[in-house]
């Protein structure tokens, strides 16, 4: 873990989404922090709020959705919650870089790679177009593109998925951000390419000393790159701590189930997947107790009524939102 003070500190962040037909709370009192040079992985199943958590406060939401953010996000000495649009816009692409999940659709099909990278440098580094295009070439070399001069003249449809994701990364780091948010950067890619992209991100993070928030549901990616891990379920953080501790000795019943669900090499061919029974709760109605209670094997009656807060476990670096874990470890094994 890094010893420097956090560059990003999120405290009690809640986000409400209002569409024409419904109101949801996809993020519910979430807290975490990331320091420069450190990677926080946020894992959780689809719909657990991990993307909204990172994108909504930056103003990166699809049209037709209005959001309400409460709590606090301190980034680089500035408060992002309630920040005016213009100031937030200057941060986006400048000190905060973003990588999206699907490089097939995240790049503009009608523009050259050169312009799509260079405009970021023009905007945030105040470079002329010639300087910015020279920087685009440097960036393509930095993301280890083969034949970078030729790539600059190409259009996205002429590149493979892995190359497009490298272009996306080049765009995200064009202004040397202090924080890089990567939303499932390898999900849409081939397995062999995934490893290359993760290695590249790790290398770039070290070179630029960026803080990185990696949203994923791939535990392999988490183990390979992250230093800290936040496990999310139904918009809440269930467990939070150093990656090694959480992955090898999960405390929260949900984390246990999540890690147990990963297929293992010793599984016999044709054996059934170990999944978690049941479905995540609907986020429209308030959940008074623990969000995981309906699927939890260890639940006690108070889990239905009292919401457990993140609290240190026996290993004080690991926080878990489960009263059972902290009361006695025997209770779990007996269940």
């Amino acid at each position: 873990m890094s010893t420097s003070s956090p560059i990003l500190t999120v405290r009690d962040l809640s986000i409400d989404l209002f569409t024409a037909r419904s109101a949801l709370r996809p993020v519910d009192q979430v807290s975490y922090s990331v320091a420069a040079g450190e990677t926080l992985a946020i894992v959780g199943e689809s719909g657990s709020g991990k993307t909204v958590l990172n994108f909504a406060p930056l103003g990166l939401m699809p049209l037709g959705v209005s959001i309400h953010v409460s709590g606090s996000i301190r980034f680089d000495g500035k408060e992002l919650v309630g920040m005016n649009d213009e100031a937030l816009r200057k941060l986006r692409g400048g000190s905060i870089g973003v990588i999206f999940q699907d490089p097939m659709s995240a790049l503009n099909p009608a523009r050259t790679i050169r312009r799509q990278i260079a405009e970021v440098a023009e905007l945030h580094l105040s470079l002329t177009s010639t300087q910015a295009e020279a920087r685009a070439l440097d960036l393509l070399k930095m993301v280890r593109m083969s034949d970078p001069e030729a790539r600059l003249r190409q259009y996205p449809h002429e590149l493979s998925g892995g190359l497009r994701q490298r272009v996306m990364i080049a765009i995200a780091i064009a202004a040397e951000p202090k924080l890089l948010i990567a939303d499932e950067p390898t999900t849409a890619l081939d397995v062999t390419v995934q490893a290359q992209i993760i290695a590249l991100l790790k290398d770039l993070q070290k070179r630029l000393n960026m803080a990185m928030v990696l949203i994923t549901h791939d535990m392999g990616v988490v183990a390979g790159i992250a230093s800290r891990l936040a496990v999310m379920y139904a918009g809440r953080v269930m467990e939070y701590g150093p990656v090694q501790s959480v992955l090898t000795a999960p405390r929260h019943p949900y984390t246990m189930g999540l890690i147990d669900a990963i297929p293992r090499a010793e599984d016999l061919p044709g054996s059934t997947f170990r999944g978690l029974p049941g479905m995540p709760p609907v986020l429209g109605a308030p959940i008074p107790g623990c969000a995981f209670v309906e699927r939890c094997r260890h639940a006690v009656p108070t889990c239905e009524t009292a919401r457990p807060l993140l609290a240190p476990t026996a290993d004080r670096h690991v926080l878990a939102a489960c009263p059972i874990v902290n009361r006695s470890s025997e209770a779990l094994h007996a269940g």
Binding site: L58, G59, L60, P62, L63, R89, K90, L91, R92, G93, G94, G97, V98, F100, D102, S105, A106, L107, N108, P109, A110, R111, R115, E119, V120, L123, H124, Y155, H157, E158, M168, I171, A172
Partner: protein
């Protein structure tokens, strides 16, 4: 890319030959004996021998393929035959009228281009606010009113009441304005919706979110990211609307007493002056084929996926 363009050019030439055949067939198969018409025009009490003589003069007794070949070689050298009504050569009459129609359509096209881009872009920049609502209203009006009605309204307002421009005729820039707006309003209405809807669709695509993440403002995203993506669609629609304007010229030219091809075509039909009709049709069809060719080439140039094909 070049092979793609040359294939389009080749297709257009084949189409053009087929079109001449169609033009010719239409006139040959038109009911009534042209020789009788001409004979009656020359003298009210023409005899059967007179008619036969005229048939011989016009080559009406030749086999059809020979007549087609004769007409085609004539057309290629600008000799489009003689008007049955006036007895004048059709070629020079047409040549003097083409610039008038071209000027009308080009002016109307410019009006449509400017209005549609301004209204479409303003609507996308401030969706559901007053520029969008106003643009939508103008588009609805423009698309629902026939051009002769629009023309009459414009004449009444700007020529009769305000006396800013002449009511009709072709004499200097002030007389161009009303015909241009009359013919350009419908295409402007249709095209402004193409721009507005296209931009909105482009803004909902993931690359627009990437542009937001880059820190660009809405105007920059619309210009740099959304606009290039609607260019092929827009060029296609602009081509179609130019076709609509050529047809519209048949109505608008008589309204403002402009002596263009549309006006000539209309009088040709009224007097069954088939040589004139045939020549006008040939010009119209050639123009449509050329227009389609230009649209195809324009789309190849604005769509990177098409541009890289075959290169």
């Amino acid at each position: 890319m070049l092979s793609l363009v040359s294939r389009r050019v080749h297709n257009s030439l084949v189409l053009l030959v087929l079109a001449t055949l169609l033009c010719f067939t239409l006139v040959v198969s038109a009911p009534g004996n042209i020789a009788v018409l001409i004979a009656e025009l020359r003298s009210p009490n023409a005899s059967f021998a007179d008619i036969q003589k005229i048939e011989e003069e016009l080559g009406l007794n030749d086999p059809i393929p020979v007549r087609y070949a004769g007409w085609l070689t004539g057309a290629l050298t600008g000799n489009l035959g003689i008007s049955y009504k006036t007895g004048e050569e059709v070629g020079p009459a047409l040549a003097s009228r083409i610039p008038v129609t071209a000027m009308l359509v080009a002016g109307g096209g410019t009006v449509a281009l400017l209005l549609s881009l301004v209204f479409g872009f303003a609507g996308a920049m401030w969706p559901r606010q007053w520029p969008d609502v106003a643009g939508r209203g103008v588009a609805l009006l423009g698309a629902s009113m026939p051009s002769f009605f629009v023309g009459a309204l414009l004449i009444y307002a700007f020529a009769v009441e305000l006396r800013l421009v002449p009511t009709f005729g072709l004499a200097g820039p002030s007389s161009w304005i009303l015909p241009w707006f009359t013919i350009g309003l419908l295409p402007a209405a249709v095209l402004s919706r193409v721009v507005r809807v296209g931009l909105e669709e482009a803004m909902a695509r993931p690359f627009a979110l990437t542009a937001v993440a880059k820190g660009l403002n809405r105007r920059a995203i619309l210009f740099r990211d959304a606009l290039p993506n609607i260019a092929p669609t827009y060029i296609n629609a602009l081509g179609a609307q130019t076709g609509v304007m050529v047809v519209g010229a048949v109505v608008v030219e008589p309204l403002f007493a402009w002596h263009g091809v549309g006006d000539l075509f209309l009088t040709g039909i009224r007097f069954r002056d088939f040589m004139v009709v045939q020549a006008c049709l040939l010009i119209f069809i050639s123009f449509f084929i050329l227009l389609n060719l230009l649209v195809d080439i324009g789309m190849i140039f604005t769509d990177p996926k098409l541009r890289r094909q075959g290169s």
